[in-house]
C-alpha cells in the first residue's frame, strides 16, 4: 500500500473570528507513521481531522499530502480513507456493497472490485459476511467493515475518528491490537483521534497532544510521558505530582518539600519551575534518607496490583503508587518515609 | 434541484429556500392578499363591508352558532376520543393495532364519502328514522339537514384527529407513574385523575386546538348536512361566491374567519409554542 506523508502548516480555524477551533497547528507526519491526536473534547483534534478529510476548511494554513497541497480539493478527490466514530456504514447496502463503494466510485471493474472487497474483508477477519447488511452485525463487526471500507481503495492515508469509542472494554483492547497489526502489515499512514490516553500510549508511534485548539506537544509516547513540556500535558497523561519550585542552579530547586534535585538542563537561578514526579517513581524508603520529612498518609486506594497512597509531604499533597508487593508494609501505618531518584524528577520549563 | 440539495457543498441555503418562498408568495400570499384587498375595495374602497357585518344580526348569529358548534364538536370528540386513545395506548399490542386501524380507516376516508354515509343513515328513508318509528315515534322527527346532523357528522369526522393527538402523548406516558401512585396508596381512579390526566393534558390541548380550528372553517359537512337556516361561517362565505357574487362581503367574512383562526393559534403559540401543535406534543 502506498503510504504518504502529511504536512500541516500553521493551520488555523475559527468560526466566529474570536474563538479558535484550531490555532496555528503545525505537524509533520511521516509516511507509514501511526500518529494519535490526543486531547479532551473541544480541544481541536476532531476539527483538525475534519480539515484533513476536507469536511471543513482551514481559515488559514496549508495541508499537504505527500507533495500535493490538498486544501482546495473537495473531500471526494482527496483519496483519504476515514473510519467514523459511529462507523457511518450505509444502512441500505450489504457489507460487500459498502466495502466495494469506494472502488465503484473509482470505476473499478466488477470482478476486480469483488476480489479486492473480499481481500479487504479477509484482512479484517470478516470473510463470508459479504451478503449481510450492517444492522445484522455486532458493533465490533461493523467497526471491521468500516475499516475494510477505508483501506480497500488503498488510500494515501487513513484517518480514524475515535473508532473504538462505542465498543466495550474487552473488545476495545482486542481491536487496538488488531488495528496495530493492520497498520504494521500494510505500512499505511494512520492518524488516530482519541481522548483515551492509554489508547494513544499503546498504539502510537507519536502522539500530538491537543488543548484549546493548539498542539501542546508532539512526541513518542515515552517522551510525552517522561518529559512533558507543559503542565497540561503532564496532567492529561498519566497520574502526576506537580511541585512548584524555584531554581537554585545546578539542577537544584527550592520547593515545599525541601531542596529537590532534578534531571535538568540548565535553569536560570531563581526562575520558577514546575517539577513533575510520577506517583510510581516514589518509593518507600527504609529510613529517613537524606533528611526528608515523613509522608503523612491521608487515605489509600487498593487497586490489587498496586496501592495508591494519597498523603502530604509537609504542605505538598502527594500521590504515590506502591507496587502490590510492597503494599503490605503500609497496613495500619499513618506515616512512612519516601524517596525518589533525581533523574525521575522532570522539570517543566 | 438535486445538485443543490447536496449535503456539504451548498454555498448557502438560498437555492433551497428560493423555490418555497417564490411559490408561496405567488400562489399563496398573493391570493390571500387579494382577499384582504377585495374586502376593503369592493364595491368601493373603505371599511363598509366590515361595517355591514358589524351591523348584521344575521352575521352575529352565524358567528355565535359557529362558535357554539365548534365548541360542542370539540368537547364531544374529546369525550369519544379519550377512552379510545387511552385503550390504544395502554392496551395489548393487538388491541391497540385494532383500534388504530379503525381510526386510520376513518381518518383516510374522504369527508364526502362520510357525508354521503350520514345522508343515508339519517335520511327519512334511512335506518335511524325506521328505528324511531318502529319504537313508536310517529311521525319520526326530521334528523337530516339539522344542526344535530351536522354536529354529529363533524364530531364523527374529527374523532380521528383528536385520537391521534391524544395517542401521541399517551403512548409516551410511562405506566410506572400510575403504578407508583397506586403503590403509594392512591385509588386507581384517584391515580388516574391526579397522575394520568395531567400527564395527558398536552394531548388534550393539542387535539382540542386542532379540532376547534378545523371546525371553525368547516365547509363541506355543515353545507351538505346542516340546516340552511343555521349556517356556519364557511357556508355563508361560499354563498357569497356562488349565489350573491358579493366578493367584497365574502372577502370581509373570510377576513373575520381568518382573524378568529389566527387568534386561536396565537393563544396556543403564546402558551405552548406552535412547533408542538404539529409535532404530536413531543419536543
Amino acid at each position: 500500500m502506498n503510504a504518504r506523508s502529511l504536512t500541516l502548516s500553521n493551520i488555523t480555524k475559527t468560526y466566529d473570528g474570536r474563538h479558535m477551533a484550531a490555532d496555528d497547528v503545525s505537524l509533520d507526519i511521516k509516511a507509514g507513521e501511526f500518529v494519535s491526536f490526543l486531547g479532551p473534547s473541544g480541544s481541536g483534534k476532531t476539527t483538525t481531522l475534519m480539515m484533513i478529510a476536507g469536511f471543513q476548511h482551514p481559515t488559514s494554513g496549508e495541508i499537504r499530502l505527500g507533495e500535493r497541497a490538498i486544501d482546495n480539493l473537495p473531500p471526494h478527490k482527496r483519496n483519504i480513507g476515514m473510519v467514523f466514530q459511529n462507523y457511518a456504514l450505509f444502512p441500505h447496502m450489504t457489507v460487500a456493497d459498502n466495502v466495494g463503494f469506494p472502488l465503484r466510485m473509482r470505476g473499478v471493474a466488477k470482478q476486480d472490485k469483488e476480489r479486492r472487497s473480499r481481500e479487504a474483508l479477509a484482512k479484517v477477519g470478516l470473510q463470508g459476511f459479504e451478503k449481510r447488511v450492517p444492522s445484522e452485525l455486532s458493533g465490533g463487526q461493523q467497526q471491521r467493515v468500516a475499516l475494510a471500507r477505508a483501506l480497500v481503495f488503498e488510500p494515501d492515508i487513513i484517518l480514524l475518528d475515535e473508532p473504538l469509542g462505542a465498543l466495550d472494554k474487552a473488545l476495545r483492547e482486542h481491536m487496538q491490537v488488531e488495528l496495530k497489526r493492520i497498520h504494521k502489515d500494510l505500512g499505511v499512514t494512520m492518524v488516530y483521534v482519541t481522548h483515551d490516553q492509554s489508547e494513544a500510549m499503546t498504539m502510537s508511534d507519536r502522539i500530538a497532544v491537543f488543548n484549546q485548539g493548539r498542539i501542546e506537544q508532539v512526541g513518542t509516547p515515552n517522551e510525552i510521558y517522561r518529559a512533558p513540556k507543559t503542565r497540561f500535558v503532564a496532567c492529561f497523561i498519566g497520574d502526576s505530582n506537580l511541585i512548584e519550585g524555584s531554581a537554585l542552579g545546578g539542577g537544584r530547586f527550592d520547593t515545599p518539600v525541601g531542596i529537590v534535585e532534578a534531571r535538568s538542563s540548565q535553569t536560570d537561578r531563581n526562575r520558577r519551575a514546575d517539577l513533575l514526579l510520577r506517583p510510581e517513581m516514589i518509593r518507600i524508603a527504609e529510613t529517613s534518607q537524606g533528611g526528608r520529612q515523613p509522608l503523612k498518609i491521608d487515605s489509600t486506594i487498593n487497586y490489587g496490583d498496586n496501592l495508591l497512597v494519597i498523603g502530604k509531604l509537609g504542605s505538598q499533597a502527594i500521590r504515590m503508587r506502591v507496587p502490590g508487593a510492597d503494599a503490605r508494609r503500609l497496613e495500619g501505618v499513618s506515616e512512612c518515609h519516601v524517596t525518589w531518584r533525581a533523574e525521575d524528577v522532570h522539570v517543566i520549563a | 434541484m438535486k445538485l443543490r440539495t447536496s449535503p456539504v457543498f451548498v454555498e448557502g441555503p438560498m437555492p433551497l429556500i428560493a423555490p418555497a418562498v417564490m411559490f408561496l408568495s405567488l400562489f399563496f400570499l398573493v391570493p390571500l392578499g387579494y382577499v384582504v384587498w377585495m374586502s376593503l375595495s369592493q364595491p368601493v374602497i373603505g371599511l363598509q363591508n366590515f361595517g355591514r357585518l358589524l351591523n348584521s344580526s344575521l352575521f352575529a348569529s352565524v358567528l355565535y352558532s359557529t362558535f357554539k358548534t365548534a365548541l360542542l364538536v370539540t368537547l364531544l370528540s374529546l369525550l369519544f376520543a379519550y377512552p379510545l386513545a387511552y385503550a390504544a395506548a395502554n392496551g395489548s399490542k393487538r388491541f391497540a393495532t385494532f383500534l388504530l386501524t379503525v381510526v386510520a380507516l376513518s381518518f383516510w376516508t374522504s369527508y364526502l364519502v362520510r357525508t354521503y354515509a350520514w345522508m343515508v343513515i339519517l335520511g327519512n328513508q334511512g335506518p335511524v328514522t325506521a328505528l324511531l318509528s318502529w319504537l313508536g315515534w310517529d311521525p319520526a322527527p326530521k334528523i337530516l339537514f339539522t344542526t344535530f346532523s351536522a354536529t354529529l357528522a363533524m364530531t364523527h369526522a374529527l374523532i380521528p384527529f383528536m385520537t391521534m393527538s391524544l395517542f401521541a402523548v399517551m403512548k409516551r406516558i410511562d405506566p410506572l407513574y400510575v403504578r407508583a401512585a397506586e403503590n403509594l396508596g392512591a385509588h386507581p381512579l384517584r391515580a388516574f385523575v391526579s397522575v394520568y390526566l395531567p400527564l395527558s393534558a398536552p394531548g388534550i390541548v393539542n387535539g382540542c386546538t386542532l379540532v376547534f380550528i378545523t371546525c371553525l372553517g368547516f365547509y363541506v359537512m355543515p353545507v351538505l348536512l346542516g340546516s340552511p337556516r343555521d349556517q356556519m361561517i364557511a357556508g355563508i362565505i361560499g354563498d357569497q361566491i356562488e349565489q350573491t357574487l358579493d366578493f367584497g362581503l365574502g372577502s370581509a367574512i373570510s377576513i373575520v374567519l381568518l382573524a378568529l383562526t389566527l387568534a386561536v393559534y396565537a393563544v396556543y403559540n403564546r402558551f405552548f409554542g406552535l412547533d408542538r401543535l404539529w409535532a404530536g406534543g413531543d419536543r
Binding site: 473537495p74 | 369519544f80 377512552p83 376513518s106 376516508t109 364519502v113 354521503y116 406552535l274
Partner: protein
Amino acid sequence: MNVWIRSLAILIAAFVAAPMFIVIPMSFSSAASLAFPPPGYTLQNYVNFFSDPNWTQPLTNSLLIGLGTVCMTMLVAVPASFALVRHVFIGRTVFNLLIMLPMIVPTIVMAIGYYIYFGQLRLVQSYLGVILAHSCIALPMSTLILTAALKGFDRSVERAAMNLGASPFTTFRLITFPILRPAFTVAGLFAFIASFDEAVIGLFISGRDKATLPRQMFNAVRQEADPTISAASSFLFLLVLAGVCIWLAPQLVRRRTRLLGQTDGNGAAQPAAATS
C-alpha cells in the same frame, strides 16, 4: 386493562367505523333514492361510475391533478426541508411559519382568494390552477414529514460517501435519497391524498370542464339526483380499506415472525431481526 374501558373503546370504535360501511350495500342499490335497506340490488351504479363521462372525467381529472400536485409539492418541499433541517439562516423561523401557513389559513378563505386571483390569471377551470392551489395545501404536511425524517438522518454516512470518492451529486443519488426514500414516498402520498380528497377549492375553481371527483360528489350529494354517488363513495372507501389493510399486513406478518422466533429459538429469530 379494565374490561369496562375495553368495552367502551370497542363501542366507540364501532361508532367510528360502522357508519362508513353503509356505503357498500348502498352502492348496489337499484333505487335512485337514499332508501336503506335498498329495495333491490344491481351493478348499475358501478357501470355508471366507470363509463359515464360525468364521473369518469372527474376521476381522471382528480388523478391527473393529484399527480401534478405531488410533483409540484415535492419540488418545493424537498429543498425547503433540507434548508430547514441543515441550515441556520436569518429568517428561518419566518420561513418555517410561511411553509406552515397554508395549514393555518382555512381552506374556504383560500378558495375565495383563488377564485378571484386565478380568475384574473385565467387559471380558473384549468388543471394548473387546481394543481397550484392543492400544492399549497399539501406543502405543510409533506414538509413536516420530510423534516422529521431528515432530523433522524445521520449525516456521517454522507461524509463517508464523499470521503470514499463520491461527488456531492453521487452522494445524494446513491446514499441520501435511497435512505430517505420511504419518507419521500410518504410525503408524496400525503400530497396526492391531500389533493385527491380536497373538495372546497376544487368546488370553486375547477369548473365544469376540469371538475375534480370531490366536486362531482359534492354536487351529487347536494342535488340528491344521481345514485352513482353511492358507487363513487363505495369505490373510495374500499380503496382506503385496502390501503389500511396493506399498511396493517406487514405488522401482522412481523408479529407472526416474532412469535415463530420465540417458539423456534435462535434459527427463526434471524428474519424477525431483519424485518424489524
